[in-house]
Structure formats: structure tokens, C-alpha cells
Amino acid sequence: MGEENNYMLVLARKPNQSIMIGDDIEIRVVDIKGDQVKIGITAPKNITVHRKEIYEEIQAANIDASKTKGETDLDKLSKIIVKKKKK
């Protein structure tokens, strides 16, 4: 996700302090307990926020899926699943 082009800015924040990204995205440290930080994000509706692990999981699954062989007999697999569906 563009990491190769971007620098990482590191800031120290205390609970209830925020940072702004641009004019309209606010990231607030809500709470810190042990090794877990609760983060609150306020952003416009058109910004989607997901945990990074989800991107990584989907990326890994896509890479595996791309290794599916071109010769895979889809008609045969279709028959198997159609049969299971009817059972």
C-alpha cells in the first residue's frame, strides 16, 4: 500500500490526544491498556477504514487464487457442486 514511497511519521500521543490527517481525518488515542491501544477515527463517509490485517489476508488469498491452474476442469467441479446442492 504505497509503503515503498512514503515516509513514516512517528508522533508521541497521550490518551485523548489526537492527530489530524489533512483537514478532515482525526485519529484519537482513546485508551491505553497494557499492550493494546484503542483508537478512535473520525473521517468523512467516503473514507473507508479497515484493519491492515484484512488487506494482508485478502492479498495472500488472492495470490494463492492466482495459482489456480488454467487447466482446472471447472465443468467437472461444477457437476460436483451442483450434485451436492441437490442432495
Binding site: I58, Q59, A61, A65, T68, D73, L74, I81, K87
Partner: protein
């Protein structure tokens, strides 16, 4: 008459396609961000289709409509995901939304095929824009076993 074009495809070698089968993914597919255009190949009768990259012959994905094996599958996405492919109204949704999930078929054990329910592919069939969206339902797995699902639910008929 629809103009046909011959392309090289991973599953079928040379194959004829029309521009109507061309889908543009402005963000690509996660992990393959540089390939933005795919042909939806419907030579197999379904429910499986191939999504074939236009610029890399070796890059193609098997896709399936998730409702085929999991009838309670729901697209739980943000409105922005649909705006991104130009689906703005309820009428648009009903008439133009197609959705699939990517299937992984292990070469040595095809019956163990899995589907990525967490990252569905949505397509607007009127402007042929597509997107791999991220489901907001974190219960969905990226490797959901298709045959096990059918065993469990009997296809939910």
C-alpha cells in the same frame, strides 16, 4: 454486430472476447494493483467463471457467485464501495450489480476449493466498472470451504 477480439487466456489459450466482457478495476485486485483490466470469460456454463487479466496472460482468477453455495451470504460493504463503481440508486443496484467471490482451487486437491468471502468482487454491468471490496463482516473468511459449506447447508434450497 458485436466486434470480437482474439486474446490469449490462461485457461483456454486463444479465445474470442467482446468489449462487453471487459471490466475495469481502477484499484486493481489486492496484490495485483498494476493490472486494472480483466475480461470476464463465460465459456464454462457456470457457476464458475474466469476473470482474465488483459495485460498478463498468466494472471486469471476463478470466480463464483457466493449465493450459489452460501445462500445467506450478504454483501456487507460501505456505500462508497458501490459509488466507486457508479452504482448510485436502488434501481442501479437491482439492474446492474453483479457480485462474485474469488475461488482458490488447489491443483492436487480440487475438492478442497475455497472462496474468499471477505473480499468480494462487485461489478456494475452497465459501465463495466469493478472493484474488490472489503467486507465489513469480519466473520467471513478468506478461505471458506465451498464443499463443506454445501454439506452443511445442502445449498440452502
Amino acid at each position: 454486430m458485436v466486434e470480437m477480439l482474439e486474446i490469449n487466456s490462461k485457461p483456454y489459450g486463444k479465445v474470442k472476447v467482446s468489449q462487453e466482457q471487459l471490466i475495469h478495476f481502477s484499484e486493481g485486485i489486492l496484490g495485483f494493483e498494476n493490472s486494472k483490466d480483466y475480461y470476464l470469460l463465460d465459456r464454462n456454463e457456470g457457476p464458475f467463471y474466469w476473470l482474465q487479466s488483459t495485460d498478463l496472460t498468466d494472471l486469471a482468477f476463478v470466480i463464483i457467485n457466493p449465493q450459489f453455495f452460501k445462500t445467506d451470504y450478504r454483501l456487507e460493504l460501505t456505500p462508497q464501495d458501490f459509488y466507486d463503481i457508479g452504482l448510485l440508486t436502488e434501481k442501479d443496484f437491482e439492474e446492474n450489480l453483479l457480485h462474485y467471490v474469488i475461488v482458490t482451487i488447489p491443483p492436487d486437491d480440487p475438492n478442497n476449493m475455497t472462496a474468499n468471502l471477505l473480499g468480494p468482487i462487485i461489478i456494475n454491468k452497465s459501465n463495466r466498472l469493478g472493484k474488490q471490496a472489503l467486507s465489513l463482516n469480519s466473520e467471513y473468511s478468506v478461505r471458506h470451504k465451498i464443499l463443506e459449506e454445501l454439506e452443511r447447508s445442502g445449498g440452502g434450497k
